[in-house]
């Protein structure tokens, strides 16, 4: 397994947002996290690269082991972690720079390769998100001129440039129209060959379409976790069935 979460508890001050979460995320699969608003999905996602550390007054207990290393141990290298475990957000957030500089930004910060290598890596990253053909002659243009879908792809390319192993996606299609959403979903499907992907989504149908495994969260608890085709055809918990059939939530 790629990521093992053991008895994870998370607090915002006194509020216990996650309660003894334990699950295993397999490599080169898409794992979807579903559940009603406020159930802890995004909180859980942000634990996987310790982005929650940036919030004041939080407390975390338990273990999150990625490739055999507990990322919650003191002294863990957070820069290395966030390079290895990249994140894509709900609203595309390209930097106010050129397309080229957006993709090169992380590279220049982390690895600082020679410039000819940077160009190769940028081409490879843009090809991986199916943007190279569209943008190869526009690399000096501002990234802010791109469509929302292109911006989201660019943000993914920016991650890929620093060779992550895990991609965390927090409702990556919320700001996109249905056709753009479908294209991003196909991209996710292609990318899982090379990356482990964890996606939070409010859209249950999206979770059903693109994920291999699905975790249903409710009020900070993991209610059910299993193969997506099993969860969406014969869930083992009534609470899961009530949620996915729309009887609740």
């Amino acid at each position: 397994m790629k990521i093992k979460v053991e008895n994870l508890d998370f607090y915002y001050g006194d509020f216990r947002a996650l309660k003894e979460i334990s699950l295993a995320i397999q490599p080169n699969r898409v794992t979807a996290i579903i559940g009603p608003s406020g159930c802890g999905k995004s909180t859980f996602l942000r634990c996987l690269n310790r982005m929650n550390d940036l919030i004041e007054g939080v407390k975390i207990q338990g273990r999150i082991v990625i490739d055999g290393q507990d990322i919650l141990r003191s002294g863990a290298d957070l820069i290395h972690l966030r390079k290895k475990v990249g994140m894509v957000f709900q609203r595309p957030n390209p930097f106010p720079l050129s397309i080229f500089e957006n993709v090169a930004f992380g590279l220049k910060l982390h690895d600082r390769p020679p410039s000819n290598q940077i160009e190769e890596i940028i081409e490879r990253s843009l090809k991986a998100v199916n943007l190279w053909d569209e943008l190869k002659d526009l690399l000096e243009e501002s990234a802010l001129r791109l469509s929302l879908e292109q911006q989201q792809r660019l943000c993914i390319a920016r991650l890929l440039a620093v060779s992550p192993e895990v991609l965390l996606m927090d409702e990556p299609c919320s700001a996109l129209d249905p056709v753009a959403t479908l294209r991003i979903e196909e991209l996710i499907h292609e990318m899982k060959r090379n990356y482990t992907i964890v996606i939070v989504t409010h859209n249950m149908q999206q979770a059903a379409r693109i994920s291999d495994e699905t975790a249903y969260f409710y009020l900070g608890e993991l209610v059910e976790f299993g193969a997506t085709e099993q969860l969406f055809t014969k869930p083992s918990k009534k609470e899961t069935e009530d949620y996915i059939t729309g009887r609740f939530g």
Binding site: L182, R183, E186, H189, Q205, A208, R209, T228, E229, F232, T233
Partner: protein, 227 residues
């Protein structure tokens, strides 16, 4: 845009086609078992039916999964729902082949009461209807599907003739009643297979054109609107 969902649909389509070939072969071999008086062949058909039944279960499961996971619409939804219907019809074709095989074993225990003339023609036409229905499904060809609907009347006609000929023979030779009744049932089984092939053809038309031609419903609706 290529969708990975298309690969899943192809998997479902290929599974159904393979099952259809098995069912078509079962009908052909069951008929041969009767006309060639080969009870061993008949026993193989009866044993082989379990494989067709297992295919039905697999296809149903896959179809339901695809509906749950992909929420198909329009032609994709029609495709999956028609596959589930055709699946059930093909399983019944397999059952009819078993019925024919069982009757073959029974009939083969006695000397034949007369040479088979109409039944072999019927069996061949029915086998062709099943194959053509499968081809029409694979190619989503509504024109080919329509041609199958027309053949069903031919089979109904042969079935009537077989019934009348056997009835006459049984009245002339009462000792032939057992065999006669068994052959009437075989004719009925073949006529049922033709009906199932017709169902498949109707499903192909619905899949391709979104038009429901079952039970002459269109003509009935048009008539109601005129009144």
């Amino acid at each position: 845009m290529k969708r990975h969902f298309d690969d899943e649909l192809k998997k479902l389509k290929d599974k159904l086609f393979r099952m259809g070939l098995q069912a078509e072969t079962a009908v052909a071999k069951a008929s041969e078992a009767l006309f060639e008086r080969d009870s061993k062949k008949a026993e193989e058909i009866i044993k082989g039916d379990q494989e067709i039944n297992l295919c039905e279960i697999e296809i149903d499961e896959l179809g339901h999964e695809l509906i749950a996971l992909y929420q198909p619409t329009a032609v994709d939804l029609r495709f999956i729902t028609m596959v589930l219907k055709i699946n059930s019809d093909l399983e019944r074709v397999g059952d009819q082949a078993v019925n024919i095989a069982e009757k073959a074993i029974e009939i083969n225990q006695e000397p034949p009461m007369k040479p088979y003339v109409d039944l072999p023609k019927c069996a061949e036409t029915v086998r062709t209807m099943v194959r053509e229905a499968l081809d029409a499904f694979m190619k989503r060809d509504p024109v080919k599907a329509r041609e199958i609907l027309e053949k069903d009347d031919v089979i109904d006609g042969i079935n009537d003739k077989v019934y009348k000929d056997l009835q006459k023979l049984m009245m002339e030779k009462p000792e032939s009643v057992r065999q006669g009744v068994a052959l009437i049932m075989v004719s009925h089984n073949l006529e049922r297979v033709a009906d199932l092939a017709t169902n498949i053809a109707e499903d192909v038309i619905y899949l391709s054109r979104g038009i429901d031609v079952r039970h002459h419903i269109r003509e009935r609706r048009e008539k109601e609107e005129k009144v």
